[in-house]
Structures are given as structure tokens and as C-alpha cells.
Subunit: 264 residues, 2 copies
């Protein structure tokens, strides 16, 4: 395996970090996942992002994580991180052969606000306006599937809780309500969350799942009954306080990987 | 193991069938599950009901299935099967010692219309009117948890599709809309379904999960992306046509059993 860092156009701080198995046969490709970590749009938990990427590497995937822009770097922040995700997907399309990526099996997995970025990307990838902003084409942004872990979806659903924070996210809150922009063009979507998430209400995940089902998108939803926000792998690798190593919730990764393999 | 059949009061046709491990030590008790099978209120798939019961027996449970009344026996049918389920729970309370039942770990698992019966029982178990009809007390109806597989929840949610069938179910359709009668007294509730169920729309499961979450009930929900109605164990044991042996969906049983063990 090699670790590489790919900078993104027009972005001083954002980059894509890859964990890639090497192969002398250029025709060999692997399923691939891009991790979009959480961090409240104020930071990136890079070690957790790497642990999530490595969990897929261990399952035979090429894996990346996106270090996107923060509020302190670009305010209001959105849609900048969504554009950076689009440019990351386009970069992987461009380097598919050298990075041994199977583009038919390319997925994006976003967590918390990373789930917000990923859900908005899933809604916008085929839109002309968005592609113009990102300097991409829809063909360059195609992914097979999207995974959302305890995602932020809409400011109407309980996160953030104050107007001042929301103002740093966007001046057009309706535009970043991801459940309101789902179309039949969305990629198959897998969502997991805990019912009693005390920070980002479960209603975020439910609203996006409902929108996805309503538009006939291939949808899978797992609401585990108990666990705090930000569980990542929900195992001992990413446990960050007592009560975050939860074997029941940790099934999400096998369920998600199996679902990816199960997609037509 | 012994197999026993327990008749129910005031019911010519309904009975409770038990699959019980024996033990000479009367202080030994086991977790217990009551299966309420589907069958569109027109019949009971008894072999499938037995396979579901035996799946829990294999996990160390005492297991029962309920053969409840059909439309052809009592019309309009409801609330008769719900009363029969209440009388079954009361019978298990009454025989807990001889049947080696741990009453702190007694669950009901209903499938399809059996999920409808179970959801209504979950809504009504503590109500005075219902207990008067069933000749029970709330104390006799306490269960630890409820499991709903691809449940019918409300006539407003796409099943049954015709007024004539609904009229055989009930003359008061609002009363049998199970999502409308959830309270904080409901037992912890686990729900699973497939997103593209062509017979009973996924909206049934979502509406009940939403009501359960809204009332602060311990709730777990698993929406698997693909599979027909009536999957039972979703494995080779209960497969009844091509496309019903689905290893991905079959995880529901381990998830449910783990959730039961995880309950406080």
C-alpha cells in the first residue's frame, strides 16, 4: 500500500488522501470508497478519518479521505466542501487507471457534517449549475453509491441549534436542506444512525431516507436503538470515550459493505 | 424439548403452540418469544410459524406461536386476534414457572398482519377498555419487547387495497391504525422491512417507527433495500420461492436477538 496526497484545484487547504494498494498490472482495479469525515465544519478528525479508510482497505477497497475546507477558512462555508468532494470524485475518475480504481464500484461515505456534504453531493451531482461551479461534468461525478453515517441533513431538523452558527454555514438555508433536493438521479443510498443521538437528531436520517424512498432511489436504513453521536466504526479502534465501543452498532460496516456488493 | 398446545378462553379455533425445553429445576427460566405469524387474516402458515419459533429455540429461547382467529371465523375480525394475543401473554404469565419462562425477557414477534396484531397489542396492553375486553389486567400483559417484521400498520398506508377487504377487518378503521395509538407505555420496539416490499408498503414500518421514536420508546429500525414480502427468516429454511433466500436480509434475526439482549 502507498499513501498519497492529492491537492484540489482552487483550494488552498483541502486535499484528498489516498490509501492505495499497488499492482504492476494496470488492468487490475478495486472497489473504492471516499470517506468524508465529520468535525462540525470546524475541523477534521484526521486519525478517525484514516481509521475509517483503513477499515475499507482491510475489506479489499482502495480508500481515500477528504480534508475539506472549514468555516474558519471560507465563510459562509457551503457549498465549498461539496465542490471539493466533486473535485475529489473527478480526480479519482481522472486517475482511475493509475490508482487501480473500479469506477463502477466507487462509493462516497460521509459522517455527521461529512454526511451533509455527501448528501448534498448526491442531490447535486447531475445539476448544471453545480457542475459549472465545480468545473466538472456529471460524467466525472458518477458514483455507484452513497453511505451516510449519523448525517446532518437539514437546518430544519435540529442541527445546528443557533442562527449564528447556521449563518457561518450558508446564507441560503433552504438550499442546504438535503432532504428537499433528492431526485431519482441520486445514487443508491445507505444510511445508519442511532435513535437517541443527542447531537444530530435521528429525524435527519429519517427525512433523507424518506426522500430517497419517495424518489425510488435504492435505499437502505439502519436505526440502531442506542449510542451517542460520532461513533465512526463503533468499535475499539475508534472508541473515543466510554460507551462508544458498541458491537451491536458496529454491524453497520458489514451491512454497508454487503449492501455495496449486493447492488445491481 | 416438548411441544404443547394451549387453548385460549372463549375461542373455538385459536390456540398457543409451545416449543419448550424441559428442566427438572423449577427455578430455571429462559428468555421467551411468542411468534404471531402472517397470512393476510385468512389463514396461518403454520410450518413457517414453527420455523420462526424454532429459530429462537436454537438461540436458547422458549418459543410459542399463536394460531389466531381468521376472517372466515369472526367478521369483522379485529380486535379478536389482539385479544387472543393478550390471552396468550396472560397464559404465559400464569404458567411461567412450569413452562420455565423468564417473564423479564418475554417478547412478541409479529410478521405482516401478525405485526399488525402485535403493534396493536403494544399500543393497547395498558388500556382499561382493552383489558376489560380481554378479561386481563395490564400486569398480566407486560412484555419486555416487541419485534415487527414487514408489519401491516394502518389501512391508510396501502394495505389492504380495497374497501371490501377492510370491511372484513374492522368497521372502525381509525381504531386499527396502529401508528396513531402509540404511547410512552409501549414496549421497546424493533422493526424490520424491505424498502421495495411490493405488498405491504415500507411506509407502514416507517410510520410505526416514527410514532415510537416520537413517544420516546426504545426503537430500532432496519430497512433492507431489497426483497419481496413475507421473507420470514429470509434464509433457505423458510424460502418459499426464488429470491427469498437473502443472506443480507437474514441478518435481521441476529440483529433482533442482539437488540433483545442489549435492552436495559
Amino acid at each position: 500500500m502507498k499513501i498519497l496526497t492529492q491537492s484540489l484545484p482552487n483550494s488552498s487547504a483541502a486535499y484528498l488522501q489516498g490509501y492505495l494498494r499497488e499492482n504492476t498490472d494496470s488492468s487490475v482495479t478495486y472497489p473504492t470508497v471516499i470517506i468524508v469525515p465529520g468535525g462540525s465544519y470546524t475541523h477534521i478528525p484526521e486519525r478517525q478519518a484514516e481509521d475509517l479508510a483503513l477499515a475499507w482497505v482491510a475489506r479489499g477497497y482502495q480508500a481515500f479521505f477528504l480534508r475539506y475546507s472549514f468555516i474558519s477558512e471560507k465563510t459562509p462555508l457551503l457549498p465549498n466542501p461539496v465542490i471539493e468532494l466533486a473535485q475529489s470524485v473527478a480526480a479519482i475518475h481522472a486517475h482511475a487507471t493509475t490508482w487501480h480504481v473500479d469506477l463502477r464500484r466507487l462509493a462516497v461515505a460521509g459522517f455527521s457534517v461529512g454526511g451533509h456534504i455527501t448528501a448534498l453531493f448526491n442531490d447535486w451531482w447531475s445539476e448544471a449549475d453545480f457542475n459549472q461551479q465545480a468545473h466538472t461534468t456529471p460524467e466525472q461525478l458518477k458514483v455507484q453509491a452513497v453511505i451516510l453515517g449519523y448525517p446532518v441533513i437539514s437546518p430544519d431538523l435540529g442541527f445546528p441549534t443557533d442562527a449564528a452558527t447556521l449563518a457561518t454555514w450558508s446564507t441560503t438555508p433552504k438550499k442546504i436542506a438535503a432532504d428537499q433536493h433528492v431526485t431519482a438521479a441520486n445514487a443508491p443510498t445507505f444510511i445508519w444512525v442511532t435513535a437517541n443521538d443527542p447531537l444530530v437528531p435521528v429525524q435527519n436520517a429519517l427525512a433523507y431516507a424518506q426522500a430517497s424512498l419517495t424518489h425510488g432511489v435504492d435505499t437502505e436504513l439502519h436505526v440502531f436503538h442506542n449510542g451517542p453521536h460520532g461513533l465512526a466504526l463503533a468499535n475499539s479502534v475508534t472508541a473515543w470515550k466510554p460507551g462508544t465501543d458498541l458491537p451491536h452498532v458496529a454491524h453497520w460496516l458489514d451491512l454497508a459493505t454487503e449492501w455495496l456488493q449486493d447492488l445491481k
